[in-house]
Amino acid sequence: MSWAFLRDLLSGVNKYSTGIGRIWVAVVFLFRLLVYVAAAENIWKHEHDEFECNIKQPGCENVCFDHFFPVSHIRFWALQLIMVSTPSLLVVFHVVYRENREKHHNQKLYKNPGKIDGGLLCTYLISLILKTGLEIFFLVLFYKLYNGFKIPQTVKCDIKPCPNTVDCYISKPTEKMIFLYFLVATSCLCIVLNLSELSYLMFKYSIKCYLKRHMKNQQ
């Protein structure tokens, strides 16, 4: 079980997406997942070993690290990636449900089970709203947890058993900050893509609805 599973999942979803949805999948793959696996993971690999405090008191380093990093950035992003990719499953389930229904009734109930219309449109819109909501939720949570989008070079710690205020030094803060900004920027890009897809679909189908009603009135 690894990221390959998520990759296969998203490739499956790709079939039932709009054009903007496919761009979203490409952005998630290349700029978030691949950067995470190929680059970001290695930067945070030894973060605990390389976290150093100016004191010999045993336990002080552990306690300070735990205080300043309740959840490691990298695990946070892994969670965010998984949560944000999951709403797309709703669409896949709905398509499978439609196909099963057609099989069960042994007749063609839908023009094309994978086409986004009717109930599937609602499911797609809900998945878009969920995706956007989760992205914003994780960004806000990160901001609140780490007091902004910054990684300081030193932090001052005075939790027991540290005898008084000690200086603790974080490893590779600049590199971590570069990747932090990169991942936050791609997260915002994904939010923008989701919102534009949402407005595009709502606009397209409201025009369709309006035209249908107009034709009916004329008849």
């Binding site: 690894s2 990221w3 390959a4 998520l6 990759r7 054009g19 496919r22 761009i23 490409a26 793959f29 290349l30 700029f31 997942l33 691949l34 950067v35 696996v37 190929a38 680059a39 290695n42 930067i43 030894h46 390389e50 150093e52 405090c53 100016n54 004191i55 070079q153 030193t154 200086d167 603790c168 030094y169 974080i170 490893s171 590779k172 803060p173 600049t174 590199e175 570069i178 990747f179």
Partner: protein, 262 residues
């Protein structure tokens, strides 16, 4: 999810590339991505653990390392490779869009559509002309820009392409100027020069491909302006032969790359 997935994505684009584009892709996978994964990552693997400063002051080593290496060479190259590979997706999306349109025509039962079934549409190789030419050319242009930007950023951040053995650091909390020693500086310099050289080769290949596409475009325009009625079949036969050769080259390249990466 790893570089193998990128290989799968770009392999699809390979079919619609020119011969120079196929060479570029092979160079990218064998001499850059493979070298990065198999060799360079090991060389830079212990870079912070083995970065030693001549002081016992806690925190001095961390701060000095951060000062001299704002972003590790390895990560910069990984980012460069990701950005440089991305424009090829524009071509993949354009091809997918065209295929989608042809499938729609086929399903509508359009008589203009010359395919017998959906499978043929899926396997069809599109020629680089019309709007696809513009997409392809802009993707090469963006590739060039990204390569140049990353090379310049590397040169600017590290003051050249050499890895020094010794660095003098006096950032707080280091008590005064301390000597810090980089691990494996010669090996790192060798790999840096290698990656920069291959990057330059890729830039040259992209420039050559751009010139080739422009030359093809102007030639076609002048031919169309000159003799629009004469010998269209003869031109098609020559281009079909070229396409077949490209297919053979691409198939053999694909097999070589797959053989190396599997």
């Amino acid at each position: 999810m790893d570089w193998g997935a990128l290989h799968t994505i770009l392999g699809g684009v390979n079919k619609h590339s020119t011969s120079i584009g196929k060479i570029w892709l092979t160079v990218l996978f064998i001499f850059r991505i493979m070298i990065l994964v198999v060799a360079a990552e090991r060389v830079w693997g212990d870079e912070q653990q083995d970065f030693v400063c001549n002081t016992l002051q806690p925190g001095c080593r961390n701060v000095c390392y951060d000062h001299f290496f704002p972003i590790s060479h390895i990560r910069l190259w990984a980012l460069q490779l990701i950005f440089v590979s991305t424009p090829a997706l524009l071509v993949a999306m354009h091809v997918a869009y065209r295929r989608h349109e042809k499938k729609r025509q086929f399903r509508k039962g359009d008589q203009k559509c010359e395919f017998k079934d959906i499978e043929e549409i899926r396997k069809q190789r599109f020629r680089i002309e019309g709007s696809l030419w513009w997409t392809y050319t802009s993707s090469i242009f963006f590739r060039l820009v990204f390569e140049a930007v990353f090379m310049y950023a590397f040169y600017f951040m590290y003051d050249g392409f050499r890895m020094p053995r010794l660095m003098k650091c006096n950032a707080w909390p280091c008590p005064n100027t301390v000597d810090c020693f980089v691990s494996r500086p010669t090996e790192k310099t060798v790999f840096t020069i290698f990656m920069i050289a291959v990057s330059s080769i890729c830039i040259l290949l992209n420039v050559a491909e751009l010139c080739y596409l422009l030359a093809k475009f102007f030639l076609r325009r002048s031919k169309n302006a000159g003799n629009s009625k004469q010998q269209p079949n003869h031109e098609n036969k020559e281009e079909t032969k070229q396409n077949e050769m490209n297919e053979l080259i691409s198939d053999s390249c694909q097999n070589t790359v797959i053989g190396f990466t599997s």
